[in-house]
């Protein structure tokens, strides 16, 4: 671990940095984490407003969306079909690439990895800074697409060719081009981040921090980084090919020039399915981190948890064809993908049962991070089980491209990833900003979010089974869907309430940032290393010596200690007493 000598040296030379190097072009992993968090939260507002536009149109088709007459003066605020297509395309694009990824992988990856393995910073701090600013640039390019002639991309977040490959088919020209360019740039930023995470975890663990003493959130981020490293370049190449088809006249995906539309789907989903696990694995890690702390009990089946994530990482490469069962891909191949898809459900089941096992016999404290983590587990169960319907190819024939799929992805990405992100924000906010979030406002945020999330997304299962196709502009155009239109109204009312509830979160977040109660060193009595550093930790995290790790991260209520927690750094009472 020669890296430590170098960082210790750097620490000795540590001096006050100027404003720009501290807050803007910072190489401190904790500042970069905050930057990713702020970027993700800002984009969450945009992505959420786009979702509300979509929901308004579905509940009350072709009526003016309140407040939209400012942006759409020609129609008086009514969404036209092309604007509607743009709204759901950009909702998904922004939520996936610029909200969930920056917050879960960007913010928590940056904040947790060095602190929780006992490093002073990332392996490549400058590359880390660059990774944020490249992703930030990608975000600006993506937002720029809203202001170009012809509107933003409107071919769905999946941008199936040839709809996306030939401008005349959608009527969007530079919008779709900027979509490609932005994702290309984002892919480069993600590459920089993932290389950094992997190197840091492999090389820079503190003395005694063996791989199987790492907190599970670090395991999850490690595996996420490997998936990012291998999956994102496929998307990066695919969007470059798409851009060339659109602007340079190549024919990768255009059948008129000898191209193959299904090639896009193969490339996109080869990236896209690992991507789903990129979105959910860090949330699983966060839940695995928080449940033991607030159940005051070791995680159930630590090794099973780590190995099931490794299994997911391997299997996620060979399941992607389940997105293409009715695409025209050889149906025999569809059969093969059914087998792998059914298998990948097993590690998720193992994780769920181990979370339940963690609660069993615990001493459960219902504090805010725990409430979010518990609702993550419960909602993920629904999202996981609904996935089994799609894994069965014959059933998928019917529910493919219906709202059942939309329900499934929102239970996984909102009920899973976003609730996991909230769990993480409530849990690490004291360490990240040195102040506590207000618990009253926190409860006012949690309970309505939980209720309205279900009001918004559960009925999607029902209308999906009823046959409502995703991405349609007006369900009332179809006779077989008209009888279930009232559900669309229910869901939209739920979505509006869900959106309004988030205002409470933003008020709490920014108010606590400035005026919250000062956070103690270890407010939740946790074992992991980050809670041994000051709140917030200084540049380079630790004092002159690095922490030494003596045990695993979840020794809660251990008989070795009179208290109900035993930090990883606490020296063993007698030599060789701790084996785990």
């Amino acid at each position: 671990m020669s890296a430590h000598a170098a960082t210790a040296h750097a620490h000795a030379e540590h001096h006050e940095l100027g404003f720009v190097r501290t807050y803007i072009f910072s190489t401190d992993h904790k500042m970069i984490a905050r930057q990713f968090l702020f970027m993700g939260l800002f984009m969450l507002i945009i992505g959420g407003l786009l979702a509300l536009m979509v929901r308004w149109q579905l509940a009350w088709p072709e009526t003016a969306v309140p407040g939209m007459s400012v942006f759409l003066p020609d129609t008086g605020g009514i969404l036209e079909p092309s604007t509607y297509n743009m709204a759901f395309t950009m909702h998904a694009t922004i939520m996936i690439f610029f909200v969930v990824m920056p917050i879960l992988a960007g913010a928590f990856g940056n904040f947790c990895i060095p602190l929780m393995i006992g490093a002073r910073d990332m392996a490549f701090p400058t590359l880390n800074m660059l990774s944020f600013w490249v992703t930030f640039t990608a975000g600006l390019i993506m937002l720029g697409g809203f202001f170009v002639d012809g509107g933003h991309a409107a071919a769905g977040w999946t941008s199936y060719a040839p709809l996306s490959a030939i401008p005349q088919y959608t009527g969007t020209n530079w919008g779709q081009n900027l979509w490609c360019i932005s994702l290309f740039v984002m892919g480069i930023g993600s590459l920089m981040g993932s290389i950094n995470y992997i190197t840091t975890i492999i090389n820079m663990r503190a003395p005694g921090m063996r791989l199987f003493r790492m907190p599970l959130v670090v395991w999850s981020l490690f595996i996420t980084a490997i998936l990012l490293l291998l999956a994102l370049p496929v998307l990066t190449s695919a969007v470059a090919m798409l851009l060339f088809d659109r602007t340079l006249g190549t024919s990768w995906f255009r059948p008129s020039g000898g191209g193959e539309p299904l090639l896009w789907q193969h490339l996109f989903w080869y990236f896209g399915h690992p991507e789903v696990y990129i979105l959910i694995l860090p949330a699983m890690g966060i839940a695995s981190e928080i449940l033991p702390v607030f159940a005051r009990k070791p995680i159930f089946g630590y090794h099973a948890m780590a190995f099931s994530m490794i299994a997911i990482a391997f299997l996620s490469w060979i399941v992607y064809g389940h997105h293409m069962f009715v695409s025209g891909m050889n149906p025999a191949l569809g059969m093969a993908f059914t087998v792998t898809t059914m298998i990948i459900a097993v590690p998720s089941a193992i994780k769920t049962f181990n979370w339940l096992g963690t609660l069993w016999g615990g001493r459960i404290q219902f504090k805010l991070p725990m409430l979010w983590a518990l609702s993550f587990v419960w909602m993920f169960v629904i999202g996981g089980l609904s996935g089994i319907f799609m894994a069965s190819t014959p059933v998928d024939i019917y529910i493919q491209d219906t709202y059942f799929i939309v329900a499934h992805i929102h239970y996984v990405v909102f009920g899973g990833s976003i609730m996991g992100a909230f769990a993480g924000i409530y849990y690490w906010f004291p360490k990240m900003f040195g102040r506590m979030l207000n618990p009253v406002l926190g409860h006012l945020h949690f309970w309505p979010t939980f209720v309205f999330f279900n009001v918004t997304f559960f009925p999607m299962h029902i209308i999906g089974v009823g046959g409502q196709m995703r991405r349609i502009y007006n369900p009332m155009q179809y006779e077989f869907l008209q009888h279930q239109q009232h559900w669309n109204v229910v869901m939209t009312v739920g979505a509006i309430c869900l959106g309004l509830t988030q205002i409470i979160f933003f008020v709490n977040f920014f108010w606590s940032l400035v005026a919250g109660k000062k956070a103690p060193l270890n407010p939740w009595s946790s074992n992991t290393l980050e809670w041994q550093a000051p709140s917030p930790p200084p540049h380079l995290n630790w004092g002159p010596t690095l922490p030494t790790v003596h045990r695993g991260p979840y020794e809660y209520s251990s008989p070795e200690s009179r208290e109900d927690f035993l930090p990883q750094t606490a020296a063993p009472a007698r030599a060789g007493a701790s084996r785990h």
């Binding site: 297509n85 199936y160 709809l163 159940a295 569809g334 459900a345 894994a391 024939i397 019917y398």
Partner: protein, 244 residues
Amino acid sequence: MLSWWLPENVSTYGQDIDWLFHLIYWITGITFILVTAAFLAFLVIYRDRPGRRARFTHGSTPLEIVWTVVPSLILVVLTLLSAPAWSKIKMTMPPTDFVLEVTAKQFNWQVTYPGADGKFGTPDDKTLLDEMHVPVGKVVRVNLKSQDVIHSFFVPNARVKQDAVPGREIAQWFEISKPGKYEVPCAELCGFGHSGMKAWLYVHTAEDYAKWAAEQLRAEAAPAADETKVAATPAAQTGGNATR
């Protein structure tokens, strides 16, 4: 509960799909109830109360084996049960003399009947827009094509869905068991007119269909009948047979 919302099934293989749907519905439903019951029970029983210490345990290998093996077995059985229906619907083509060509375009379904000679690409072909007529109780083969972007041929009541991909011809079959009028929406985003792109599938009794065909298909096609022999070697026909 969910099953009440499935639209009425009118195709022969639709019941295979619905049976699997209900099977998975019960398996996942029961799993959900059991997991939720355990989850809520643990939250109540093991809530923080003064004077109690949490149980210090790192897990249980027998339990890990049980909850790895049991879901695996259930999922393997589901895979095995899914295979026959999939192979019947998508991998086999029952013999039939009723063949239609459906060519999707932004934003219509163009339905072509081969005419008296039974061949496509001949002058006696008849193309209808957003309208499709078939007899009940007969295997219908649809050769799906697209002339611009990807569309998806969806008949909710018949549990049929297949993407139409430009540059390919994809054969698909169904057999409807109940006469009626069914909607055929496009299920894959195909542009600003995606919503509202739909056809009507009219399923007639054998007599009604014969009457309809005599009026709509043969009458107009008759004058062109002599030319059929001349133009009898179109590429579309050979291409259609070559698919799968």
